[in-house]
Symmetry: D2
């Protein structure tokens, strides 16, 4: 059994990670920490775990955790992992980081977008970007995984085949993304109170959201050139789900089937990527509670654009599910282990 520790277990992603790991046949959770709830049991914080998980929440002690755990999930915002993880820790355990510290290779870019000093520059070359469908071969054997962001996972997987094949003009890419409120985390803010976001929709962080350079970097690798794109996130009055509607101008005249072939070339053997049929577009309800990404597209012949729509559950494929998928790769397990979760509907 893989001994797992969870740091930041009481965020929404942490909570979802526990749900997945409890059903994982090869994992035992040995430690959970949560700074704000030290001494409480997990089911006091999340009553869905009543009679299921009453582990006492602890303070984070990286040295001790590294000794006890084969893998540590850092379910924390950006900025913490870079401070508390070092080569010594990495020599004893594997780290899967939900934060952004090691997602962007260029520390200057990170500092520009996040507005903080990067505290772990020397570890950047140890880290691998844990987008499993793309990087699984280089994930194996690593000890530090930068688990991708929710918007980024959905955006990159939706667009990557077209970028890699040179089928779209990368200077025309626009990603208009819509997220449920769990994407904003469990911290107390007026904007996320029920009455403030229920029955409304808004765009936010226009031309300034931090997932932008992450998408650009990864698509840039596929394009083998720098990419600048426009990314606009929106808040939707629902708990879970991300829908990314992606626009780009086609570089040549192609048919629906041409593009379909390209998506199948990249994804037909990918269990977690589901391509919709012609005329069917992804909806977040169909992936809720699962690690799937659904991808569909249409061609706007009048404007020569392709519109690609991707849908994920932000807490699963966009966070905890992908983290477990990374863990499976790290430990040589079948990538699907513990992740064959059927989407739950209506939920």
């Amino acid at each position: 059994m893989i001994k797992a520790g969870i740091i930041g277990a009481t965020g929404y992603a942490g909570n979802e990670l526990v749900r997945i790991l409890l059903h994982h046949p090869e994992v035992e959770i040995v430690k959970m920490t949560a700074h704000s709830y030290v001494g409480k049991t997990f089911d006091e914080v999340y009553e869905n775990y009543r009679d299921i998980n009453n582990m006492v929440l602890d303070e984070m002690n990286m040295e001790k955790l590294a000794e006890e755990c084969d893998v540590i999930f850092m379910a924390l915002p950006h900025g913490v992992t870079a401070k508390v993880v070092d080569k010594n820790i990495l020599s004893k355990t594997k780290i899967i980081d939900f934060g952004a510290d090691f997602r962007i290779k260029n520390a200057d870019t990170y500092e520009t977008w996040y507005g903080v000093k990067h505290e772990g520059r020397e570890l950047l070359k140890e880290a691998v970007y844990g987008l499993c469908e793309v990087n699984r071969d280089i994930i194996k054997g690593k000890n530090l995984i930068a688990n991708p962001g929710c918007y980024t996972t959905c955006s990159i997987l939706s667009l990557r085949p077209l970028v890699a094949e040179g089928l779209i003009d990368t200077s025309t890419i626009i990603v208009d993304a819509k997220s449920g409120v769990t994407g904003a985390g469990r911290g107390l803010t007026l904007a996320n109170m029920f009455d403030e976001c229920n029955e409304s929709v808004k765009a936010y962080k226009i031309a300034s959201h931090r997932h932008t350079p992450e998408i650009e970097e990864q698509l840039g690798y596929a394009a083998e050139k720098d990419i600048k794109l426009t990314f606009t996130p929106h808040l939707i009055p629902m708990n879970r789900g991300i829908l990314a509607t992606c626009y780009a101008t086609l570089t040549k005249k192609v048919s629906y089937e041409d593009i379909k072939d390209i998506y199948e070339k990249y994804y037909k053997n990918e269990y977690f990527v589901r391509l919709t049929k012609k005329g069917i577009f992804p909806e977040t309800r169909w992936v809720k509670g699962s690690n799937f990404i659904d991808i569909g597209f249409g061609i706007d012949e009048r404007t020569n654009r392709v519109i690609v729509v991707g849908a994920i559950d932000n807490l699963v494929k966009g966070a905890s599910g992908q983290a477990v998928q990374n863990m499976n790769i790290l430990f040589g397990l079948d990538e699907k282990t513990g992740l064959t979760l059927t989407p739950i509907f209506p939920a």
Copy 2:
């Protein structure tokens, strides 16, 4: 492997049943029928099953199904099962009926409340009321299970210990229940359109809901006398969940601990019944996607009443989960097999 057939697979309960059975280690779904979708694949109707279940939906043919299946789930409204099931069918397979035909022992009572002729009176004595926590011993060895209603499961399990122990005056019982919209099924009705039930709450079928006699009969067995109670259902703008707030006058002065002891006497070994701690009351979010019923209570000392609150997921413990629990009992499996579903939150 148990060969299972599902009749009415495209209702919400049918859909949820498929989700549960796909994760059940001892079951193989061999046939699914849906009158309105014959010839379509299941994932065309429910896209959450994309790349997971593309079985072609068929017409109901009971003779054939009885030959092919070890168990048939009739996920249909009342009135159908009594017409199409007979002793011949029951000699070949086991039937778990989601409808109301065989829930009420007295066919006249059934006819009064449902306003239709009972078409299967001769089978009533073959049937057992499949409330597992109460009837598991008599469920074993039966071939016809009347799977309880959603409101009734929640109401009966919440109140039964107090009734059985004579702790409440049964003439004072009032159940005020709240249900998510999936409880109303997937049929097209104006009242269940998004804009008609979103942002509103209502009571309906006041003093006339058909689950009333079902609750009365079962609590009557526990009380060993006839019971008449008031039951009021309400529609809540959410997908899933039932909360039953139950009121009754205490027959004697008792403490919180006295009542707690009674609940533990009945439920401490019941995996699917979770008792909340003092001061904590069930909320539907904590059971969503699971087969649990959470039960908590408070005493209103000023009025000498006890208020018991029960919460279930109407599609799981209130329908498909309990059906699988019944199946597990029928086939001698551990009752929890395939049902250790952690509640999903937030969802």
Copy 3:
């Protein structure tokens, strides 16, 4: 023009009060205060007022406000008004208090339920309980109005005719109430975050909610005797609305028409009370944005109970609309002035 001041303008009730007063032909808002937003304009806090109301929010200064205002709306939680209002203030202006300080005549009862010392005992006899349909004759000429609570307005108006006519056994009254989330105010609490209350329903403050003694006192006046009842509030995932489902045992055999006659006797001339037709029950969607209370009832002949259902918009008839109705009475205006708001649907 009546010069009005609003203290606590940035709560949900304050916001709604501004909306109503802006359309009131006889009122001018001269001052708004909000401790947490001093110096900000109102439309910076509530962007619905963009280009409509950019008054700068001020600190509360009762002396100054009393000089400037004909009426002051105290849109604050309990405990403040009793501290800052005195006979001097009341000699200069009229106070309409949204808090609970002066709702309950017996200060000891108040202290028991609210757990704080009553700081304005000497003003209790100056105050009148502002339930307009009941107390309009004694409201006139008063300077201190205790605006009723939201749950209480709905519960009292729903049950009062039956209590006053002795038609129900008051020892059997149970009120099971359901409220939208605005009822909990705009303060930051984890429980009211979107993901925590969306897609769930719960009971809270069982046998201990502070509106209980308020309902009991007012119904006691109608009954001319003390009443103890059970009141259970529930939180519903919607913005606005209260539905009160009220249960009581009938004291004699009566027909639907008998009870209908009683409701018409009390309410047929009440503009803001709308009685539903036989078989129709109130739903909160039909009163949203308006000052109406809809009332309907059914008889459960099997148990000899009456079930009365009342529905209001908690921010209008349950708070700001009723406050304006009180103001209209205080200043000798037609009670409907500025309050003929058509319910908005779907909203």
Copy 4:
């Protein structure tokens, strides 16, 4: 008093129109028709009108209506008005059409997108596109107003100043729009059932929505050239509201203030257009229940794009409010008459 008739009064737009007209000081509703509810009273269909409007719903009889009414609101889908309105009718009354029949000047374009024959080609030159802020001068004196669509109103008003001033490359325009479910009307469809659209978001009619040519035509007039753009509508789990996120590449280097000046040039005297401050973006909650459109924008300097966000209430500015605004213009009233509706929040 203006005598108004409403055809199709029982759709959501019709219902909202009645709400607005009841508060309009210069209008009397003399007739309401609704094919599916003939003989019923309006408050039987919409209980928000209980004790407010119990007019009996009639069949549509254009001849009779034209005699009785000064203005007829045709709150119907496309295809009907063109069939039942002719020059004779227009000689007796004024028609404000909620459908699409007369919105598009080129009947061939209409037939291509709507897939039906245009039945009123000869009236196209009589009709005027009722986008009040743009066409008020030519609306006066007309008898046939094509009330704009909801998505189109929001999209055109958001982008028009930039197009008119040549500040954006019109070949790069992308409108990603999000609508509440009332936008889909009140017809029974599985897709609009509560459980089907709650807790989900989807794109639909990709590259094929009928509002596309309407936006193109109107923006084309502003650009003085043909425009082809990409328009993608999305369904959001909320009752009301449209948010249009519009993307386009700037034709030259401009500052935030440059663009701000352009918007103020066009809109500073427009009561119903509210421009947000720098860094603030429209949200649908701030316009709910009102006739406002809120517009804000940001510049993505890295990609040289402008992102303009517009928000309206689809049933008010997107339908009934704008229809009344058109009526006010037609009858020489102040355009704001009956339309100074403060947005209701939270609702």
